[in-house]
C-alpha cells in the first residue's frame, strides 16, 4: 500500500499539534507541584509544611492524609503510594502536593517544606537485593530438561556474569495531567498516558468514584515508550486530588528533573549464566539467573521479568534450560515498562553467551548464531512450550549477510586493525526474534467505533493511544481500505474512555494488531450494510459489491461513496458501528511459565561496524544495515521510522545512556545535561534500512506485523561490534568483559580486561 504520512505530520511541523499543555486553560486553573523525599529509605518523623502553605499563590497543600480513597497507583500489586504515608522508599518519592495559582509559584513553594526523617538501611543495587533475597514479587523459574546435568557433561562449558544498565524514557513531552471537575461529581481528565482506562480506574479508587464518573481523553503524547503506561497514574491522581479538594481544574506538568527523579525507568539487569555446548558451538543446555532492579515497588516488574524469561532464547533453540528471574527490591524509582519490556534484557544475555562461545572456539560469532538458530520443522519449540511456526530467521540473516557484504567487511576490519595502532574497528551481525501479544491473555482485546457522516466523511475512534508510532494513521488506513475510500476521508479522534470502554494499554507493540482489527471489524459491519443496501438498490449479489477508489459498484452501477452514504442514510441504514477484536488461541500458565503467550513472532537482523579508540574508549558507529520483518506493512514509511528510531534508541540504552545514583541514593543523571540520549551525530552516515519481504503467518490486520518493540533489539550489533573491536587487542581469543552501557569508560575497562587476561 502507498505510504501515507503520519496523520499529524502537517500539524507537528507547524507547531499546531496540540499536546496537553497546549489545551487552552480554563479560567481558574490551578497548578500543582510535588514535594519530594530527600532520603532513600526513611520514616518521616515530622513534617512542617507551614512555609509551603504560606508561600505566595499557594491555595492548598495535600498529603496522604487527604486522600479520600485508596492511596495507591500501582497497576498490579497495590504497593505504590501516590503520596508517601510516613515511609519514604527512594530519593524523589512524592510526599506532598502543593497547589498554587501559577506553575512557578507551585514549584517555588514545593521547596519550602521542613521534613525530618529517621533513616533506615537502603538497598541500592539489584546485587544487594538478591543477596538479601528481597524481591517485589516472588522469583520465577522456567525449566526444560535437566540443564545442570547436561551442562556438566557437555564437551565445552562457559559461565560468567553480565550487567546491563537501565534506561530513562526521555519522552520529549514530560508527564502531564489536566483534570477538570464536571457536573455531578464527574471529572474530565486530560492525561498524557498510554493507558486511559487504567487512569480512570485508579482515579476512581483514589476518589471513591465509579468509572462512569470519569472520562479520560488522550489525543496524543509527545512520546511514551512505555513510560506513560503505569507511570502516568501518580500525576493523574495528584491533579485529580487537587481538583476534588479545590473544585477547580488542576494541571500537573512535571519539570524534567522532577520527572526523571520520580518516574520509573527500564529495568537494569544483572546475569549469572552458564552453558554447555559442542565443538560446533551448539548449545545443549543453559542456566541463567536474571536479577532486575525493580525499584521500591512491583509496578510492572513481574511481567517485565516474564518477558525477559521468554526472550532469553532470542532466535535460538535451547534444548534444556533453567531460567530464573528475580525482581530485586531497591530503594530507587520503581522501574516500569520500556519498549521491549524485558525482551531486550532477556535476549542480550544469550547473545553475549554466543559471542563468548565464538571466541572460545575461534569462530565467527555469526557461525555460532546460525548453528543455534531455531529450526523450521525440528528444534522449533521454545523453552516455554510454544512452537515456532513462522521462522524466517535463516533466510532473513542470509539476505542481510549478503546485502551488507558482511564477510568482506569483517575481513577488512581485521586488516585495518593490524595496521592501526590506536583505533580498532569491529563488526557484528545480530538477529532477533520477538514475541507479539501481551503475556497476560485478557489484555489482548480491543474495541473501536467507526462513524460515517452523511457527507461521506469518516471518523474512527479506538482504544489505542497515539504516541508518535503512527497508530492513528494505520487505523485510518485500515478503515479506508475496508471502505474502499481514500485515507483523506478518514479522521482518527482522541482516545476517550467515554467512547471505547475497558481498553488495554497501548503497549506490547499490539496497538495496530488489536485496534486495527477492531476498527476493521467496525468498518466491515458498515460495509456489509452498505453492500446489502446497494444490492437492494441496483440488484445483484451483496457479496459482489465492490468498494474501491471512493466508489461503490453494485451490479455494474457505480455510485460515488458520499452519494451512496446519503442514499443509505435516507433509507435509514445504520452508518456507524462498533467493532471488537480478541486475539485468538492464546494461553499462558504463569505457574509453570508455559503456554502459547504469543500470537506470532517478528524477526530482524542488523550489521554494525564501529571504530574504537583504545586510548580513551571513545567510539563511533560507521555503518549500520538493518533488515526487519514487519510482515506485509500497512505503512512502510511509518514502519521504517519505527525501526530506525528503535535502533537509535536501543543504541543509546547500550552505549551513552547511563543512570547513576550517588552514595545517598540520589539519581545524579536527572536531566539531559547529565543523561545523554543519542543526538544527531550519533546517527550513522551510512544507515541502510530495508523491510524483509514477508506476510504474517497469522491472520493479522492486512497480514502485517507489530513493529514498535522488536527493532529495539537491532542495536545489539553495535554493542557486539564494539566488543569485537576490543577483542582485536587479544587476537580475538579473549572475551572482553564489556558491560552495558558501553560508555567510553566501560569500553576502556573492557580493553583492560583483555590486556590483563592476555
Amino acid at each position: 500500500m502507498k505510504a501515507t504520512p503520519h496523520e499529524s505530520a502537517h500539524l507537528h511541523v507547524a507547531g499546531e499539534a496540540r499536546y496537553i499543555d497546549d489545551i487552552p486553560e480554563v479560567a481558574g486553573t490551578v497548578h500543582a507541584a510535588l514535594g519530594l523525599s530527600d532520603k532513600a529509605h526513611a520514616r518521616i518523623t515530622s513534617m512542617d509544611l507551614s512555609a509551603v502553605r504560606q508561600a505566595p499563590g499557594v491555595l492548598c497543600v495535600l498529603t496522604a492524609d487527604d486522600i479520600p480513597g485508596e492511596n495507591n497507583c500501582g497497576p498490579i500489586m497495590h504497593d505504590d503510594p501516590i503520596l508517601a504515608d510516613g515511609l519514604v522508599q527512594y530519593v524523589g518519592q512524592p510526599i506532598f502536593a502543593v497547589y498554587a495559582e501559577s506553575y512557578e509559584q507551585a514549584r517555588v513553594a514545593a521547596r519550602k517544606a521542613d521534613i525530618s526523617y529517621d533513616e533506615l538501611p537502603a538497598v541500592m543495587t539489584p546485587e544487594e537485593a538478591h543477596r538479601q533475597e528481597s524481591y517485589v514479587v516472588p522469583p520465577m523459574r522456567l525449566t526444560r530438561g535437566d540443564a545442570r546435568a547436561t551442562i556438566d557433561k557437555a564437551a565445552h562449558r562457559l559461565g560468567g556474569q553480565l550487567s546491563v544498565g537501565g534506561q530513562e524514557h526521555f519522552y520529549l513531552e514530560g508527564q502531564i495531567s489536566y483534570v477538570l471537575p464536571t457536573e455531578d461529581r464527574g471529572y474530565h481528565v486530560h492525561c498524557s498516558t498510554q493507558h486511559p482506562t487504567e487512569m480512570q480506574t485508579i482515579l476512581c479508587h483514589l476518589l471513591n468514584l465509579r468509572s462512569h464518573q470519569v472520562q479520560v481523553e488522550m489525543r496524543r503524547m509527545g512520546g511514551g515508550f512505555g513510560g506513560k503506561e503505569s507511570q502516568s497514574a501518580l500525576f493523574c491522581c495528584v491533579a485529580a486530588l487537587g481538583a476534588h479538594v479545590l473544585g477547580r481544574p488542576v494541571k500537573l506538568r512535571l519539570d524534567r528533573d522532577d520527572d526523571m527523579m520520580i518516574s520509573g525507568k527500564r529495568h537494569c539487569f544483572i546475569y549469572d549464566y552458564e552453558v554447555g555446548y559442542d565443538d560446533e558451538g551448539r548449545i545443549s543446555a543453559a542456566r541463567v539467573e536474571l536479577v532486575s532492579r525493580a525499584g521500591f515497588s512491583a509496578d510492572l516488574s513481574a511481567p517485565v521479568a516474564t518477558r525477559a524469561v521468554c526472550h532469553f532464547d532470542n532466535a535460538y533453540y535451547l534444548d534444556e534450560v533453567d531460567i530464573q528471574a528475580f525482581c530485586g527490591k531497591t530503594n530507587t524509582q520503581s522501574n516500569t515498562a520500556f519498549r521491549g519490556f524485558g525482551g531486550p534484557q532477556g535476549a542480550i544475555a544469550i547473545e553475549y553467551i554466543i559471542d563468548n562461545i565464538a571466541r572460545d572456539l575461534d569462530r565467527d560469532p555469526l557461525d555460532i548464531r546460525k548453528v543455534n538458530f531455531y529450526g523450521k520443522q525440528e528444534r522449533n519449540r521454545t523453552p516455554y512450550g510454544q512452537e515456532v511456526v513462522d521462522n524466517v530467521i535463516h533466510e532473513l540473516v542470509a539476505e542481510l549477510e549478503a546485502s551488507s557484504d558482511y564477510a568482506v567487511r569483517r575481513q577488512a576490519c581485521r586488516e585495518f586493525n593490524t595496521n592501526s595502532p590506536i583505533l580498532k574497528k569491529g563488526i557484528a551481525l545480530t538477529p532477533l526474534k520477538f514475541g507479539i501479544s501481551f503475556n497476560v491473555v485478557h489484555f489482548n482485546q480491543a474495541g473501536a467505533l467507526v462513524h460515517i457522516y452523511t457527507d461521506g466523511s469518516v471518523l474512527v475512534n479506538h482504544g489505542g493511544t497515539e504516541m508518535g508510532q503512527g497508530l492513528n494513521t494505520k487505523v485510518a488506513q485500515v478503515v479506508a481500505a475496508e471502505l474502499g475510500i481514500s485515507v483523506s476521508h478518514v479522521r482518527s479522534s482522541a482516545a476517550d474512555t467515554s467512547k471505547v470502554a475497558n481498553t488495554s494499554a497501548t503497549a506490547a507493540s499490539t496497538g495496530t494488531d488489536l485496534n486495527g482489527k477492531a476498527a476493521q471489524n467496525a468498518a466491515r459491519k458498515i460495509r456489509t450494510r452498505l453492500a446489502d443496501f446497494a444490492a437492494r438498490q441496483h440488484g445483484g449479489d451483496a457479496d459482489a459489491v465492490v468498494f474501491s477508489d471512493d466508489t461503490i459498484t453494485a451490479n455494474g452501477v457505480e455510485t460515488a461513496f458520499p452519494q451512496l452514504i446519503m442514499e443509505a442514510y435516507m433509507d435509514r441504514v445504520q452508518l456507524w458501528s462498533d467493532g471488537f477484536y480478541a486475539t485468538p488461541d492464546l494461553h499462558w500458565d504463569k505457574d509453570t511459565m508455559t503456554g502459547r503467550p504469543f500470537y506470532y513472532f517478528a524477526y530482524g537482523a542488523s550489521v554494525s561496524e564501529v571504530i574504537v579508540d583504545t586510548l580513551t574508549g571513545e567510539w563511533k558507529l560507521l555503518q549500520t544495515d538493518l533488515l526487519h520483518d514487519a510482515g506485509n506493512p500497512i505503512n512502510s514509511h511509518i514502519d521504517i521510522g519505527q525501526i530506525e528510531g528503535a535502533f537509535i534508541q536501543g543504541m543509546g540504552w547500550l552505549t551513552s545512556e547511563e543512570l547513576c545514583w550517588n552514595d545517598q541514593g540520589r539519581l545524579t543523571t536527572h536531566a539531559p545535561s547529565t543523561y545523554k540520549i543519542p543526538a544527531s551525530n550519533d546517527c550513522p552516515a551510512l544507515f541502510n534500512t530495508r523491510l524483509f519481504d514477508n506476510q504474517n503467518h497469522e491472520d493479522t490486520v492486512m497480514r502485517s506485523k507489530a513493529v514498535g518493540e522488536p527493532p529495539l533489539l537491532l542495536p545489539f550489533s553495535v554493542f557486539f561490534a564494539i566488543r569485537d573491536a576490543v577483542a582485536s587487542l587479544a587476537a580475538y581469543r579473549v572475551n572482553p568483559t564489556l558491560q552495558a552501557p558501553a560508555t567510553p569508560e566501560a569500553i576502556l575497562n573492557a580493553i583492560d580486561s583483555v590486556s590483563t587476561d592476555s
Binding site: L11, H12, M221, I611, E644
Partner: protein, 495 residues
C-alpha cells in the same frame, strides 16, 4: 520612534511588541506560551539541552540581519529588546501553506511524536535561510552539527537529516529580510533599557563606562551575558535573581580584534563568534567548536561568560590556559590584565574584585614551532559536558621543548595547568623517553573525583592517555594523522 527606557521593544514574528510589567527573569518560552498563546514552541527540559524550545533571534549587525537559533527556555525576556524573534508560527504566516522546511519534514517522515519537531523545524529554517540565496546547500555533516542541540527520541534523526537536504529541492521561500531590517532600524534607543519590577531590576547599559559605573554601585548584582547558566538558576534552583546587569547591549564588549599578535575577544561575544574567530588561527579547535555545548547554547552563551563562570568542566579554559590567554578586567576607571590561570582561586571562585567585570579574553596567536591540540572526552559527541578536557601546547625548537603549557578540565576544582608534567618537559627533547617521564609526572598532577560523568580512575587514566595521543600526533618521526588517533576525525567520515 520613541523607545521607552522602561519597556522592552522587539519584533515577534515580524510584528512590533512592547512589553511592560513582566518579571525580568521571565523566560521567552513562558511569555510565548502563556501571554501570547503561541504554543508551537515547547518545553522539553527547561535547561537548554533538548531544543524543543528552539526559536530564531534576528538582530542587526552592521546593518545586516543576522539570525541565530537560541533556546527560549533559558532566555530572559528583556534580552530580546531591539531584536526580532521568530517562532514556528512565523513559517506558514504568508499563505498558510507549509514552508519548504516543514513540507520536507512531512515528505521525509521527519516527525513521529512531533514534540521536538517545532524546534527542529526552527533549526532547519535557520540553515535554510543561510543557504536560500546561494547555489549550494549544507551537506549531511553540516546539518548534523547544526542539529546538535535538538534531541529527538523517536526518529533516530535520519529522516530529519534527509529533510534538511530535501528542503532545498522544494519551491523556495526565502526569508524576507528587508522589512525586518527596516523595523529593527527603528529600534534605536537614546537611553539604556532599565526595568524595575517587584521580582527584579534589570539594567542594560550600552557603554563600558555606564556598565562599570553600575557595577561599582551594585557589586552584588548578577552580571548577565548569554544566560545559559543564570537561566538554570531560575528554572532549576528556584534561586531568586533580583538584580541584573546585562552585558549584551554594550557594543564595545562585542568586538573581536587582532592586535600585536593577540586576538582580543570581547566578553560579550557569543561562543559561536568567538570560536569561529579562534578557529581561523587555530584550526585544531575545530572539533571543540562543534562539541562545545550545542549550536543554540553557543549562540546565546559568551566566551566571557564561560571564563567568568569558571566551571571546572568548562571547555574553553584548558585550551585558553595552554595558549597562555589572559583576561582583561575592567572596573570603574580601572583596567588590569591577568593570566587566565591566575583568575581562579578555587571551585567557582575567582580573584576578581568587587565591581570588576571581564572586558575581554586575549589569546596569543600561533608562534613558530608550536604544537597545539585540545581534546574532549564525554559520553556523547554532541552537546555533552566533558569528563576530561585536555589542552597541550609545546613549542619545539630543533626538537627541543622550549615551552610547555598543558591544562586540563574535569581533573580538579578549576581548570588547571599540569605543573609537574610541564616541568618534566621543559628543555627536553620530544621523544619517547621524555613522554614516559611526562606521563609519570602528569599522573601526579591531579587528584580527580568520581561523578556521573566518569570515575576518578578513568579521568586519571585518560588524562595520561591523551598525553600519549598528543605525542603520537606531534612526535618528530612518523607523527600520526588525526584520522589515526581520533574516531571523530572528519576526513574519513564524510560520506
Amino acid at each position: 520612534m520613541t523607545i521607552d527606557k522602561h519597556s522592552i521593544w522587539f519584533l515577534l514574528n515580524g510584528e512590533p511588541v512592547v512589553v511592560e510589567n513582566q518579571s525580568p527573569t521571565r523566560s521567552v518560552l513562558s511569555f510565548l506560551r502563556q501571554e501570547k498563546g503561541l504554543i508551537g514552541t515547547k518545553e522539553g527540559c527547561a535547561e537548554g539541552d533538548c531544543g524543543a524550545c528552539t526559536v530564531v533571534i534576528g538582530e542587526l549587525v552592521k546593518g545586516e540581519l543576522q539570525t541565530r537559533t537560541v533556546n527560549a527556555c533559558i532566555l530572559f525576556l528583556p534580552t530580546l529588546d531591539g531584536k526580532a524573534l521568530f517562532t514556528v508560527e512565523y513559517l506558514r504566516r504568508m499563505n498558510n501553506e507549509l514552508h519548504p522546511v516543514q513540507q520536507a519534514m512531512v515528505d521525509c517522515h521527519g516527525s513521529q511524536c512531533g514534540f521536538c519537531t517545532p524546534g527542529i523545524v526552527m533549526s532547519l529554517w535557520d540553515k535554510y535561510n543561510e543557504y536560500s540565496d546561494s547555489d549550494t546547500r549544507p551537506d549531511r555533516q553540516e546539518l548534523a552539527d547544526h542539529l546538535s542541540g535538538n534531541l529527538c527520541r523517536c526518529t533516530g534523526y535520519k529522516p530529519i537529516l534527509e529533510a534538511g537536504w530535501k528542503m532545498f529541492e522544494l519551491p523556495a521561500s526565502p526569508l524576507s529580510r528587508q522589512p525586518i531590517i527596516d523595523a529593527l532600524s527603528q529600534y534605536c534607543r537614546d537611553s539604556s533599557l532599565q526595568l524595575q519590577h517587584p521580582d527584579a531590576s534589570f539594567d542594560a547599559p550600552r557603554t563600558i563606562e555606564e556598565l562599570t559605573t553600575l557595577r561599582a554601585a551594585r557589586p552584588k548584582a548578577t552580571v548577565l551575558a548569554g544566560g545559559t547558566d543564570v537561566g538554570l538558576w531560575v528554572n532549576k534552583l528556584a534561586r531568586p535573581v533580583t538584580d541584573i546587569i546585562y552585558l549584551g547591549n554594550v557594543a564595545e564588549l562585542k568586538s573581536v580584534r587582532t592586535e600585536q599578535n593577540r586576538l582580543h575577544i570581547g566578553a560579550g561575544v557569543s561562543l559561536s563568534d568567538a570560536y569561529a574567530r579562534a578557529v581561523e588561527h587555530y584550526p585544531q579547535l575545530l572539533e571543540m567548536e562543534k562539541r562545545f555545548a550545542s549550536v543554540p547554547v553557543r549562540n546565546s552563551g559568551t566566551l566571557g561568560g564561560n571564563v567568568a563562570n569558571g566551571s571546572p568542566i568548562g571547555d574553553s579554559m584548558p585550551w585558553l590556559m595552554a595558549l597562555g590567554a589572559e583576561v582583561q578586567l575592567l572596573g570603574k576607571g580601572t583596567q588590569r590584565t591577568l593570566a587566565l590561570e591566575e583568575l581562579y582561586t578555587g571551585y567557582m571562585q575567582n580573584s576578581m574584585q568587587d565591581g570588576e567585570i571581564i572586558g575581554s579574553v586575549i589569546i596569543p596567536l600561533p608562534v613558530e614551532g608550536q604544537q597545539f591540540r585540545t581534546y574532549k572526552l564525554s559520553k556523547r559527541f554532541d552537546s555533552d559536558i566533558s569528563a576530561v578536557c585536555a589542552a597541550f601546547n609545546l613549542v619545539l625548537s630543533d626538537g627541543i621543548i622550549t615551552s610547555a603549557r598543558i591544562a586540563f578540565g574535569g581533573m580538579a576544582a578549576t581548570s588547571q595547568r599540569a605543573a609537574a608534567c610541564e616541568a618534566s618537559l621543559n628543555g627536553k627533547a620530544w621523544n619517547e623517553e621524555t613522554l614516559s617521564a611526562a606521563r609519570q609526572a602528569l599522573a601526579g598532577d591531579y587528584t580527580p573525583m568520581s561523578d556521573m560523568r566518569a570515575s576518578a580512575a578513568y579521568r586519571q587514566r585518560t588524562c595520561v592517555n591523551l598525553l600519549q595521543r598528543y605525542f603520537l600526533e606531534t612526535r618528530l618521526e612518523n607523527p600520526l594523522g588525526e584520522h589515526q588517533t581520533s574516531v571523530f576525525a572528519r576526513s574519513e567520515v564524510t560520506a
